[in-house]
Symmetry: C2
């Protein structure tokens, strides 16, 4: 078991009507608010009006139009400008993980005199950040309980996971009823994203019994509840369980003391969605079973057996490779069952830029140090198998 | 799934040599330190000297002699007096959960003008508390990651679980090597205490798939690793896993969104150790299987089946009551295997005060509102069955 230093200062206010505590929380932080959001979904939900009503005594500046796979230019740059010009004291992010990720980069940039890309690219370590509060409307990224975000820079095809301990939200509001209207496509993609967060921590060396059990519980809960959400989008209990399992995804609690795995699936998918702007969870779901097949070996087979037996209930008296292969097939089948297109071609990615992406990943992501080291040719093979 | 509001601001620094970060942490809080500890064990470990060396630039006042089942008089009262007289800025608790529990009561009392019992007895709500840092040398209570403590007042046979959100430690240092010298008796009792923290959360209505899986993982990890610790007290990995599973015990992470259970086992045991000053974990282990047998019914049998199948691997095709009873027997057998005396008579408790204790519990603990409501006569029966 490895040493760790763990600190999650975020307060979680969870459940129906949770946001009624918003004014109490915000008033302890500041009066000048940057309200960040994406498109019209929070207006359709009535959430925009509700927030404005709850915060009628606050000064609110707005930044809207934040996209999935949020962009450095214009969103981060525009947000930083608004914060500096208006003396913003707190950022309130309302929406999915992309809005919050973008807001984290803004929070750091607002307290930095230079080009915010210095921070995101780790050239400079942030010394401070604006406090962040969020209201999450999508069960997926877990950004509401971690200190990271993913930012894309279109002109360089960069999609960088940016983490800094200043970026834990002060408070995250999680009301499962706001996810009732999430589409089947986004529900499935969110589930795949959260499952992958757990798998990235589960498929590692030197894990603990406790962490393995936590991960297996998370995976099972996500699969059962995602199917229930698809069958009945207003199943409160299923939406709530799924939301909370997602919230824990990147917080570390699933793997404290484990060896680091290198997060190979996210590393590869970040290139896919940087080059093609696809839905992150779908990209992950597509490459996951192909990665699994590729890395299955005498070194990893016991891990896949544990996964197959404990997550899918496969008979543990079967041959090891039989269990492992069945577990991989069941992973594929689950993603297919919840409606995820399971080939890169289905999401508009062809052969053309596979080698270019593999090269980009190999150069930028350090997967030669992952749980199962991957070189450029390995990455290209996995991506090709996913076509 | 119930609404919840969850906030754990404690930083955990975990692993061998973790306490080398102590000066860095303490210097951010204050220079005037109340160092609290129990008997001589931290001196035997060399930990006392190490702490004094690390904090040679701090002003240290000491409070020693804090006992298991820590006492309001003299320990809490003496600690509050020392804090007030010396302008203490931070409390550093070094030892097991009792030292930390006592220090939490001191931390609240030091910021209160009246009798500290007003706070502990919930007559008055604390408005502030001194910051607390701890170095834990026993895997058991989980006090290092929660905001509660248990304080005994001998003259009234009261043993009160006192919780307040001001009492989360700022930072907890957890070095598993400090538990290498913990006796077999205390290792087993610590395991039983932590298992019971999880069971109190697991045996409840309206739990989630995620929480059930977390609890089952915690119970399995504790049982496997406690046995490994007893077989080889210097098994770092086993000591580390056990320590961390204990740390999460009362933090809430095992049951966020569950219905409250009323913690019946702790409620009953607190009377046992208030009246007889027995080892808390032993008292819990003794009454647990008797409580289980007593509450097994058509209402609870499915819960016990889940427990038996998922924690002990009992064949799920057997009859429900057969599984449940086997699970209860296996619980008893585990405690016996790790060396816990499994009858109240073995720890010096006879028939004499059973009715008096049952009455005290019924009046003070609200078990009529527990997962399975218990009235005075039920409590007396469970205690008698434990003799």
């Amino acid at each position: 078991m490895r040493n760790f230093d763990y600190h999650t200062p975020t307060r979680l206010v969870f459940g129906k009507d949770a946001i009624n505590k918003l004014p109490e929380v915000m008033s302890q932080i500041g009066k000048k608010v940057l309200l960040t959001y994406g498109g019209g979904s929070i207006k359709k939900l009535g959430l925009y009006d509700k927030v404005k009503e709850l915060l009628k005594d606050f000064e609110i500046v707005e930044l809207s139009g934040i996209q999935p796979n949020p962009k450095y230019d214009p969103s981060v740059l525009e947000g930083v400008r608004l914060c500096k010009e208006n003396g913003i004291e707190v950022i309130l992010a309302v929406g999915g993980g992309s809005v919050l990720d973008c807001s984290k980069a803004i929070a750091a940039g607002a307290k930095y005199a230079g080009d915010p890309w210095d921070l995101i690219s780790y050239k400079v370590k942030a010394q401070a950040a604006l406090p962040i509060v969020d209201i999450i409307t999508l069960a997926a990224t877990g950004s509401e309980y971690d200190c990271g975000g993913v930012i894309s820079r279109t002109e360089t095809n960069d999609k960088i996971g940016y983490m800094d301990s200043h970026l834990y939200p002060v408070c995250s509001f999680l009301d499962p009823t706001y996810t009732f209207t999430v589409s089947k496509k986004q529900t499935a993609a969110g589930c795949a994203d959260a499952m992958n967060h757990i798998m990235e921590q589960y498929f590692a060396e030197d894990t603990t019994l406790l962490n393995d059990g936590f991960c297996e519980a998370g995976l099972k809960s996500l699969m059962v509840n995602a199917k229930a959400c698809l069958a009945n989008p207003e199943d409160y209990r299923a939406r709530a369980e799924m939301m909370f399992a997602c919230t824990l995804g990147c917080n570390g609690i699933y793997s404290l003391g484990n060896s680091p795995s290198g997060w190979p699936l996210h590393a590869m998918e970040h290139a896919l969605s940087a080059y093609y702007d696809i839905t992150h969870g779908e990209g992950l779901a597509i490459i996951t079973p192909r990665w699994m097949k590729y890395v299955l070996s005498d070194k990893t087979v016991d891990r896949f057996v544990k996964y197959g037996v404990n997550v899918f209930g496969i008979d543990n008296t079967l041959d090891k490779y039989e269990i492992a292969n069945e577990a991989i097939e069941m992973t594929y089948a689950f993603f297919e069952e919840v409606g995820i297109p399971m080939h890169l071609k289905d999401v508009g990615i062809g052969e053309e830029r596979i080698d270019e992406m593999a090269h980009h990943i190999a150069v930028n992501e350090g997967l030669d140090r992952a749980y199962i080291p991957l070189l450029e040719e390995d990455i290209a093979k996995i991506l090709r198998a996913s076509l």
